[in-house]
């Protein structure tokens, strides 16, 4: 791929980017969020038309107009959020769009599927609904989908984002064996240790341009990190808080999950005044349900107390009034109203508090002033407070939501993947502000699937596994190996 340019309106997502990968190896494509990695791969996959540039496969120029054409040409892509449709069975998902004939012979399809799975050392119940698959299971199904379609070029976007360290290693082992059979594997990732451990070459994108492409053996993590951000990465935080009095206490919390089973099985956790606690864990271990139970949008049994006041039976509105502040996981769904202006969005969740509300009425000037403060907090770039928040980039929306969560005397800040969509600088600023709010008398719980980020930024890290919160042994609160073991359920 050479000289690829893609414009969204006046913004160039890619300008003259290039990328090359040879057969039989795993290649990495790295860069910050918004650097254009996914866009570049979508061009290759025919899901995005480039404004200019050339794409060649096996030396022949190609210009796919749809994913269908790309798939036919042997290119397969696994997107970050997987394309498994939960309402279909595993087999239906496997064959979708690449069925053997107009009549679905499920028996012969299942036989071939089992054969492919055996080749990779996987096992599937092909007639079971795919909604029951774990993230690792979905990832495996995605790889089999590539095999089913005889893909020769395989692109995986952030394949390990939702996998445990052990599952990640297994995935790379599978990919290595595919590469050994002659496939071209491209991994889009931001996890540099993986790149160094498993890939042959690495290409760095920054602000839509290719800034470096070289064999992995000739580089280091530090050098790559520098290339990615374009300057020295910020140093990890060194000042750790000394914990104050217990402030927010959770004990024996039980929560039913989306599928009706018990997702949180008696979790206990204490946040002390002034500290930022990270909750590490592989996706799907009850983090979402725990988070929602603390917010109050999901019923729970057990004890939740803020400074001695019980929260059990309290509706979310009352918890927000008591000082709960949120940075929800999926900001589009949970955090903002996309068609609303920044002014209206700034008040969301705080709209019943004075001065934004005077009794049953809202106060326009106060809302405007509040919105300006929220936007300034993390230097949200916007086209006026009266413009719709959907006109902001994802990173700027996230800054705005974070700014809102730290406004108006927070007591407990709950953050779920608060730095999703933020660059390294933005990440550091959000954590710094959360710490600042805590030093002023609040406490915070940060849920993230990125253990390294938590270790760098939090005062203390605990792990969640199988719906239980596990505390590391004294003295090992920020020990990577200790927490990693707790995350996968290995007893210390």
């Amino acid at each position: 791929m050479t000289g690829v340019t893609v414009r969204f309106g006046p913004v160039a997502a890619l300008s003259e980017a290039s990328f090359a990968a040879e057969r039989g190896a795993i290649h990495a494509l790295v860069g910050e969020n918004g650097a254009g990695k996914t866009t570049l791969m979508r061009v290759l996959f025919g899901a995005q038309r480039p404004d200019s540039g050339r794409v060649e496969v096996d030396g022949r120029p190609v210009a796919f107009r749809s994913s269908r054409e790309a798939i036919k040409a042997g290119i397969g892509m696994v997107s970050q959020h997987y394309s498994v449709i939960p309402e279909l069975t595993c087999l239906q998902n496997l064959t979708l769009g690449a069925e053997q004939g107009w009549w679905l012979d499920t028996r012969s399809a299942a036989a071939r599927a089992t054969e492919l799975a055996a080749r990779m050392g996987y096992e599937f119940d092909w007639h079971a609904p795919s909604s029951g698959l774990s993230p690792a299971g979905s990832q495996k199904l995605e790889i089999l989908k590539l095999l089913w379609r005889d893909s020769k070029v395989m692109v995986l976007d952030e394949p390990t984002a939702m996998l445990s360290p052990a599952d990640s290693d297994a995935l790379y082992a599978s990919l290595a064996s595919l590469a050994g059979e002659g496939a071209t594997v491209v991994v889009v990732t931001h996890r540099l240790p993986e790149v160094l451990a498993h890939c042959r070459t690495v290409t760095v994108l920054r602000a839509g341009r290719t800034v470096e492409a070289r064999p992995v053996g000739e580089t280091t993590t530090d050098e790559l990190a520098g290339l990615i951000v374009g300057h020295e990465p910020p140093r990890p935080v060194t000042d750790r808080a000394t914990a104050g009095a217990p402030m927010f206490v959770v004990e024996g919390l039980r929560v039913r999950g989306y599928r009706g089973d018990e997702a949180v099985k008696g979790a206990s956790l204490t946040l002390h005044q002034g500290e930022v606690v990270g909750l590490a864990g592989v996706d799907g271990n009850g983090q979402r349900e725990l988070f929602q139970a603390l917010v109050g949008t999901r019923p729970a049994q057990g004890r939740i107390e803020l400074q001695g006041e019980t929260w059990v039976g309290l509706r979310p509105g009352a918890r927000l009034a008591a000082g709960l502040r949120l940075i929800p996981e999926d900001r589009h769904r949970e955090g903002i109203v996309e068609d609303w202006t920044l002014v209206e969005n700034a008040a969301l969740g705080l709209h019943r508090r004075p001065p934004l509300a005077k009794g049953r009425l809202t106060d326009g000037p106060a809302k405007l002033e509040h919105a300006a403060r929220v936007a300034d907090r993390f230097a949200t770039r916007h086209g006026g407070l009266g413009s719709a928040i959907r006109s902001l980039s994802g990173g700027n929306q996230q800054r705005f939501v974070a700014g809102r969560a730290l406004a108006m005397e927070p007591k407990v800040v709950l953050a779920f993947q608060p730095t999703r969509g933020l660059d390294i600088d933005g990440t550091a600023k959000v954590y710094a502000a959360v710490r600042e709010a805590c030093r002023a008398g609040a406490c915070a719980l940060v849920v993230s699937f990125d253990l390294d980020e938590l270790l760098e930024q939090c005062d203390r890290v605990v792990a969640v596994c199988g719906g239980l919160v596990r505390e590391p042994r004294p003295g090992l609160e920020r020990d990577r190996r200790e927490i990693g073991r707790l995350m996968v359920g290995v007893e210390a």
């Binding site: 949008t297 109203v337 019943r352």
Partner: protein
């Protein structure tokens, strides 16, 4: 929120819609030019036409506000028609039993209560069972029709009349005219309608409850996360919408018709949906929007004298909704 620019595709569609209406006129054997002339004369020329148009605009404004309120909460209240009919029926029944100004006042209140109650099942089913309000309100509309038919054939029927209708309300038991210079008349009900729209605009933009209602309509998950009781808001919005629709029915009875009869509503509720959709995101736009629909209604009635069947109004309504909605309610491309 700026509407996306119009392309050739949209203009073409608008032309097709216009063509359909002309075709309907031609099929029914009238000359389009003559029909257009009748249309304009019957709706906006002369005091008598204006009286009819403003009379028609009254229920459209109030019911339009009802649908608009529900739409803000993310609810398609197709049931406004049934709520209006039930409201009108209850209003008429109250005044027949208790004539006089007190009866009118009580009639208005009970009409609103009846409308709210008729909408309530749809709100509850939506909030607690996840059933789509469009389906439930369609069922409630049919039920309202049968209830009204039974009432005017049975308990409310005026025995002196051949047809299924109530007796005429006594003359002291109606809403007074503000201006009475025949052939022009302007009833208090129109003022009520305008006040309802202004009050709704204020309520939606200046109160915490209005803010929460809009939040639920735009993004229920975010609203719930922000501490809004989404189910309660949904139920309340549906009931309030029904109450307004009931008020619209009471106004028609007390200001204009002075009686209740079988097939009382010529489809006010569906026109009201058009009114609300056309108003888009602005509450005050309900005023011109309702006026336009009123002109369309009186105009097509006038055209009917040429032998054009009443189905023309359906064609016109459908074509209009498509044309306007494509311009205003197009979803953004992914």
């Amino acid at each position: 929120m700026k509407a996306p620019a119009l392309g050739l595709k949209e203009v073409l569609l608008a032309l097709v819609c216009l063509g359909l209406v002309v075709l309907a006129v031609v099929v029914s054997g009238a000359a389009p030019a003559e029909a257009l002339q009748r249309f304009v004369q019957g709706s906006v020329v002369g005091p008598a036409s204006w009286r009819r148009t403003l009379q028609e605009a009254t229920p459209l404004l109030i019911a339009g506000a009802a649908v608009f309120l529900a739409l803000r909460a993310g609810l398609f209240n197709i049931g406004a028609d049934g709520q209006l009919v039930v409201g009108a029926m209850v209003g008429a029944a109250v005044v027949l039993a208790l004539p006089g100004p007190v009866g009118v006042g009580l009639g208005v209140v009970l009409a609103m209560v009846a409308g709210a109650l008729w909408a309530l099942p749809a709100g509850l089913i939506k909030a607690y069972r996840g059933g789509h309000e469009v389906i439930s309100t369609i069922m409630l509309n049919n039920l309202a029709g049968f209830l009204a038919l039974w009432a005017v054939k049975g308990p409310l029927k005026d025995p002196r009349q051949q047809t299924a209708t109530t007796a005429l309300l006594p003359s002291g038991s109606t809403l007074p005219d503000l201006v009475a210079a025949p052939p022009f008349r302007l009833n208090l009900a129109l003022l009520v309608a305008v006040v309802v729209v202004l009050a709704l605009a204020w309520w939606l933009s200046r109160t915490v409850a209005g803010y929460e209602l809009s939040a639920v309509g735009q993004n229920p998950t975010a609203a719930a996360t922000a501490g809004v009781e989404t189910r309660a808001v949904t139920v309340r919005a549906m009931a309030a919408s029904g109450a307004l629709a009931g008020l619209a029915g009471a106004c028609v009875v007390f200001a204009y018709e002075r009686r209740f009869y079988a097939d009382f509503s010529p489809g006010y509720g569906f026109d009201a949906l058009g009114v609300a959709l056309l108003a888009g995101s602005s509450t005050l736009a309900l005023l011109p929007s309702a006026l336009l629909f009123a002109i369309l209604a009186t105009g097509t009635t006038a055209v009917q004298l040429l032998g054009v069947p009443r189905g023309l109004s359906g064609v016109l309504l459908g074509a209009l909704i498509v044309a306007f909605a494509v311009v205003r309610y197009r979803r953004r491309s992914p």
